[in-house]
Symmetry: C2
Subunit: 298 residues, 2 copies
């Protein structure tokens, strides 16, 4: 595949294995689509799916996937711990290889139009695909959830980007967006003082005056008796992993606290770690073409 987009749709069923399998099945054995992972959470009553594919294959895959979701999930009967506004709750597209953000936005719009017209679902475009500033943040769109949308959708500012101007009783609403690959990166500190973690998180993150593409919060790791700065790096190219790491370390010095470790949660783009190695080794003029595996795989 010369061009690769990643898609991480979330749907509102995390308990009924039979239904989950029926839905997942639509992503198997498709040309130019590769299912990477899916995991269901019973408390959240929600399933997160990760698959990749070519731009051309994306719309067809999501259409079949959505069809099985709308056949099998009824939002009137849904409850779960995770905020949600619809049966197919969110559909984020992430450019992974040889694809620009713009191409992903076109695909998000095509998918939005299909969900709206074919399945009669109100659709909101979010993040890089958003049609207004208030719709960039997924949490703002989803606020009020399925139950609250019957009123929210009547407000002019919450007129959907695609589909009907009333909630689909069975399917709810959907958010379709485009975002950069996210790196979930946590730094562990040699203290059990949650105030230290909270204070550091506050100054490292964007809203606190910190790094532009960092979201951060303090977390207690009870069983290890330490605290952690839990971060989402939402643009690892512009705010590199090592920069977030070194800033946490620098701020921790104020409290005489050391970094005792870190963790990368889930998938991470190779370039994010290669860039870190380049920084610490002070490598001049490195080209990604020098990576042996890239030459083998591409």
């Amino acid at each position: 595949m010369d061009k690769v987009i990643e898609c991480i749709p979330n749907f509102s069923e995390g308990r009924d294995k039979e239904v989950i399998e029926k839905i997942i099945q639509t992503l198997r054995c498709r040309d130019n689509i590769k299912l990477l992972d899916y995991s269901s959470d019973e408390d959240h009553n929600r399933t997160v799916v990760t698959f990749i594919g070519t731009p051309e294959a994306m719309v067809g895959a999501i259409t079949d996937f959505a069809e099985k979701i709308y056949e099998n999930i009824d939002m009137r009967e849904h409850s779960g711990g995770h905020p949600r506004m619809g049966a197919l709750d969110v559909v984020p597209f992430v450019p992974v290889k040889g694809v620009e953000i713009e191409e992903c936005i076109e695909i998000a719009k095509s998918v939005g139009a299909i969900l709206g017209e074919k399945f009669n679902i109100p659709v909101y475009l979010y993040e890089d695909a958003a049609t207004s500033l208030t719709r960039q943040n997924l949490a703002s769109i989803r606020k009020g959830q399925y139950e609250g949308f019957f009123e929210k959708i009547k407000q002019t500012e919450w007129k959907p980007d695609f589909g009907p101007e009333e909630v689909n009783l069975k399917g709810g609403c959907a958010a379709v967006g485009v975002r950069f690959p996210l790196v979930a990166f946590n730094v562990n500190l040699g203290t059990n003082d949650i105030n230290v973690a909270n204070n550091i998180a506050k100054v490292v993150r964007h809203i606190g005056g910190g790094l532009r593409f960092v979201k951060a919060m303090g977390v207690s790791l009870e069983e290890r008796n330490i605290v952690q700065i839990s971060m989402n790096l939402v643009n690892y190219e512009k705010t590199a992993i090592y920069r977030a790491f070194e800033m946490v370390r620098m701020e921790a010095r104020r409290y005489g606290v050391h970094v005792v470790g870190s963790e990368v949660v889930g998938l991470v783009p190779m370039d994010a770690l290669i860039n870190t190695a380049e920084y610490y080794l002070q490598i001049e003029d490195f080209s990604k073409e020098q990576i042996l595996e890239r030459r083998i795989w591409e």
Copy 2:
């Protein structure tokens, strides 16, 4: 390709483009073989080729490649700046993916047998394929070169591993070996004092009491007015890049000299750089499965 071996054969023609192309052509459009690179040096009168392939495809590819070499190159007429003992001078195999050293050694022996029996060439196995300690080092085997081998081959300790016990007049001899992927890594220092570079190189490298898998020498970069520690890391898994880097930095402190940069020359396995990022970020429990590209490509 589930299993991948890299092969970097060197042959003794670097000037006649027509001959070079005839030889390279044997590696093109083969099933399960991918030509990555080749470069000819006119002064050395020598061409270095890099290709990868499955274990099954290797022996056939090298056989056809060798046939064109022995047809077109006559060592009696060869001269050049680089040490050489034959038309097909060296054939190193490197395990790259899903292959153990042992499997590469079997392939090296098969290739050695074919060069010996089909082409009537004396063959020496070297490095990890060597049949004695004195044959591990390629430089020791090649010492005396083509011209010197007419006498050298008569010594009991230089009886070939395969093929006749006399030099093939036209084709010379050949060395076939197995080695780990090599990382060429240079560290630049903020001084123009070559003595500093030489002293650091001496203590960092294996023979001087330094790191087990490091070869190093001091080099002047005249045009930049600085010096460099030029290193070959012959086993990046056991002697990591960051360890060699930090040791150079630590030794440089004795002279009040700083590291001003570094460079990776040629191809480098992804793991060597990921491992470096893991060290500096203090990442706990990282799995290579978390690399997004690995999931896409494999």
